[in-house]
């Protein structure tokens, strides 16, 4: 159900993605826009680095007391007249939401953008129960029309170009005149706005995610730019929030700290356009708003991450900065990662959620350049955690045989320093002699992984260690 896992085929996915010309064109926008905008936003706030520390500390404090803050948050939701549904896994979360929809005879639900709903495969579960789910975020709407899944956690259709969107709108919006002009992005936006406006008004249930759940007040918080999340939760009779347990944030002040790094890291805005705190259902005298307010709070393996090597990952606030700055993401895009969460955060999170046996390639899809960690607003040590996964993959004999025997061979020499020095000196000298005319090799046995794509430089006359020693002796 939900996203079909293709993470085990990461290498094939990546190869295909790199040969996909429209995808490569679309990825150019990520490389340029996201990086420049975040850099400008960070430079525009002298306190930005200190706020990153503050955000990290708030998340660490919350994770250390997660059980107590969850209990406090639940008390507050109930006091405001809301309902809380606890879900251990995807199946329980889907069942809770389907039950709410069925009990109210819902035929259509509108949805704000929610990565958790992708994680649990909510749309398929609703469809199986005869409930049509309509994505209302522009990017989500576009990819729903195409039967695709998000390729980015905050820009779900970032892998597409506008001509692709135009042809999808012409294919699906058949009630509109054929000769209409959709050449400009503004025309596409206006058309989506008009089509979805009616859906907002007709929907029986509105489902949103949450960026934060506030323990102090029992509120859920969504952060959006389009306003679709607000229409989704304001117009229908029932508002359902789906959120995972680590979204808990102690106080309003803590939310303010996190908001100051969230939008800046994500889109380079100081604040997203709409930051909305929702607390319970419609109150006496309210002329609008939902009559019921439900929160489905999901674990799905997260509680098991506490206290272990991957706890730091639970600080993630889903800004997308790590993928926006990742050379691997820039090269292959989000779909190659083969599940819901792409980029560096996905490479760490996906193995914990679907298993390292399926997602073992992802932590290997890194150059360890460290840009992800250098921009993470909550300072998650992403490269370190990818290394943890590589170690586990090795321990569980999941890495390929050639790699394992190569490492064993290397280890044999590495444990015998004199032999290691002798062997490397001999091979370095041999390569130097062989390559002295051209200074490089176009082909080399056992090194085709390198030489198929570029020349291998011929080494200098001796090893680094030997040259170093010589230099010190001559001084």
């Amino acid at each position: 159900m939900g996203v079909v896992v293709t993470s085990p085929q990461f290498k094939d996915n990546a190869r295909q993605a790199m040969a996909d010309a429209p995808l490569q064109r679309a990825l150019g926008h990520v490389r340029k826009n996201f990086i420049e905008r975040r850099a400008a936003a960070a430079a525009g706030l002298p306190e930005f680095e200190a706020l990153r520390d503050s955000a990290r500390d708030i998340k660490n404090h919350t994770l250390a007391h997660l059980d107590l803050y969850l209990e406090e948050w639940e008390r507050k939701v109930l006091a405001a007249g809301g309902h809380v549904h606890w879900a251990r896994n995807a199946a329980e979360a889907n069942r809770a939401i389907v039950d709410i929809c069925k009990a109210r005879g819902a035929k259509t639900v509108t949805k704000g953008k929610s990565m958790i709903s992708e994680e649990i495969g909510l749309n398929d579960a609703l469809a199986a129960a005869g409930v049509a789910a309509i994505e209302t975020d522009l990017g989500e709407y576009i990819i729903q029309l195409r039967g695709e899944h998000p390729s980015h956690i905050i820009a779900p259709a970032v892998h597409l170009n506008k001509d692709q969107v135009e042809s999808d709108f012409r294919r699906v919006h058949t009630h509109l005149p054929k000769e209409r002009d959709l050449a400009e992005p503004t025309a596409l936006l206006a058309e989506a706005r008009a089509v979805l406006r009616q859906k907002f008004i007709e929907a029986d249930v509105g489902i949103t995610g949450a960026n934060f759940l506030v323990a102090e007040t029992g509120s859920s918080v969504i952060v959006t730019n389009e306003g679709n999340g607000d229409l989704t939760q304001t117009l229908p009779k029932v508002h359902v929030v789906i959120a995972s347990i680590e979204k808990i944030t102690p106080t309003m002040e803590d939310v303010a700290q996190l908001l100051r790094v969230l939008a800046r890291s994500a889109t380079g805005q100081e604040m997203s356009v709409y930051t909305t705190f929702s607390t319970g259902p419609r109150r006496p005298g309210d002329p609008d708003g939902p009559q019921e307010y439900h929160v489905v709070v999901l674990d799905n393996g997260r509680s098991s991450m506490l206290g272990g090597d991957f706890e730091d990952m639970l600080r993630c606030i889903r800004c997308g900065a790590c993928m926006n700055h990742c050379p691997v993401y820039h090269a292959v895009g989000g779909h190659a990662y083969g599940w819901v969460y792409p980029g560096p955060m996905g490479s760490v999170l996906t193995p914990t959620l679907i298993g390292v046996d399926k997602a073992g390639h992802l932590p290997n899809a890194s150059t360890f350049c460290g840009r992800c960690e250098s921009v993470c607003p909550v300072r998650i040590p992403l490269p370190k955690m990818m290394r943890h996964w590589r170690e586990r993959e090795f321990e569980r004999n999941l890495s390929p045989a050639a790699l394992r025997s190569g490492l064993k061979l290397w280890a044999f020499f590495a444990r015998r320093p004199a032999l290691y020095r002798l062997a490397t000196r001999l091979s370095t000298k041999a390569l130097h002699l062989m390559g002295r005319t051209k200074g490089r090799f176009a082909k080399m046995p056992l090194a085709s992984g390198w030489t198929d794509h570029r020349d291998l430089a011929a080494p200098q006359a001796d090893t680094f260690q030997a040259l170093w020693k010589q230099r010190r002796e001559t001084r």
């Binding site: 503050s54 007391h65 306003g227 309003m252 002040e253 356009v273 709409y274 109150r283 708003g289």
Partner: protein
């Protein structure tokens, strides 16, 4: 075991705690009671003139338009001018806020509708609960006075704000909310709005007017002329 008990037990097992330990409970209670403020950017610190100038600059940076009126009684004329200049019909929906009801609408040609929106209104006006100078953000609260639907359904949203309600930062808004609604309580909806609706989902090109208002016009009441801040 219910899912709730199971999840909480899992968390406690992973943490190596029982849940009831006094120091942990005390840490949580203390944080909830005291709500420490953390780091507040210095940029909004200063006197009222600085705060209002920064507010104006940030509102305009977020692609909203901005006007000032000497007192609330001058607001209907400013709104009529705004609608006329934007070639919009002279219609306006508003909630039951007594501050809006008291204004001299009869002096303009604007046709007034009252109550929540059903999606068929072009223009609406709301009174903000507060403004945040740090980011040019408006804070609006739900209820009959200023229905939430007015913030999102109409194409053009006009928001009035008293100069005295423009504060430095979010933390000051939180303090005012606690004063009004009580500690640990919020109105059903608190909207923080920074500029008009937008999307960059098509080729990362930023376009205004995605699902919410295409235009946001902020009218500051009772501040005199606010200088542009560069």
């Amino acid at each position: 075991m219910t899912a709730r008990d199971d999840i909480l037990a899992n968390i406690r097992r992973a943490r190596g705690v029982a849940g009831g330990e006094a120091p942990r409970r005390a840490a949580v209670e203390e944080r909830l009671a005291r709500a420490p403020t953390g780091i507040i950017p210095a940029r909004a610190r200063g006197d009222a003139a600085h705060r209002l100038a920064l507010f104006r600059a940030r509102v305009e940076a977020a692609s909203a338009s901005f006007a000032t009126v000497a007192d609330a009684a001058a607001a209907p004329d400013e709104i009529a001018r705004y609608l006329r200049d934007a070639n919009l019909p002279a219609t306006l929906r508003m909630g039951a806020d007594p501050r809006l009801a008291a204004l001299p609408w009869a002096g303009t040609a604007i046709e007034i509708a009252r109550g929540a929106s059903d999606g068929h209104d072009l223009n609406a006006v709301s009174f903000a609960f507060a403004g945040i100078a740090e980011t040019g953000t408006l804070a609006l609260v739900s209820g009959p006075d200023n229905p939430t639907t007015l913030n999102f359904l109409p194409d053009n949203h006009i928001v009035l704000i008293e100069a005295a309600d423009v504060v430095a930062d979010m933390e000051t808004v939180w303090a005012r909310l606690r004063e009004r609604f009580g500690k640990g309580a919020l109105p059903r909806v608190l909207n923080l709005v920074t500029g008009p609706s937008r999307s960059a989902d098509i080729e990362q090109t930023l376009l205004l007017g995605a699902h919410g208002p295409r235009r946001l016009h902020v009218v500051l009441v009772g501040a005199g002329e606010i200088g542009r801040q560069d």
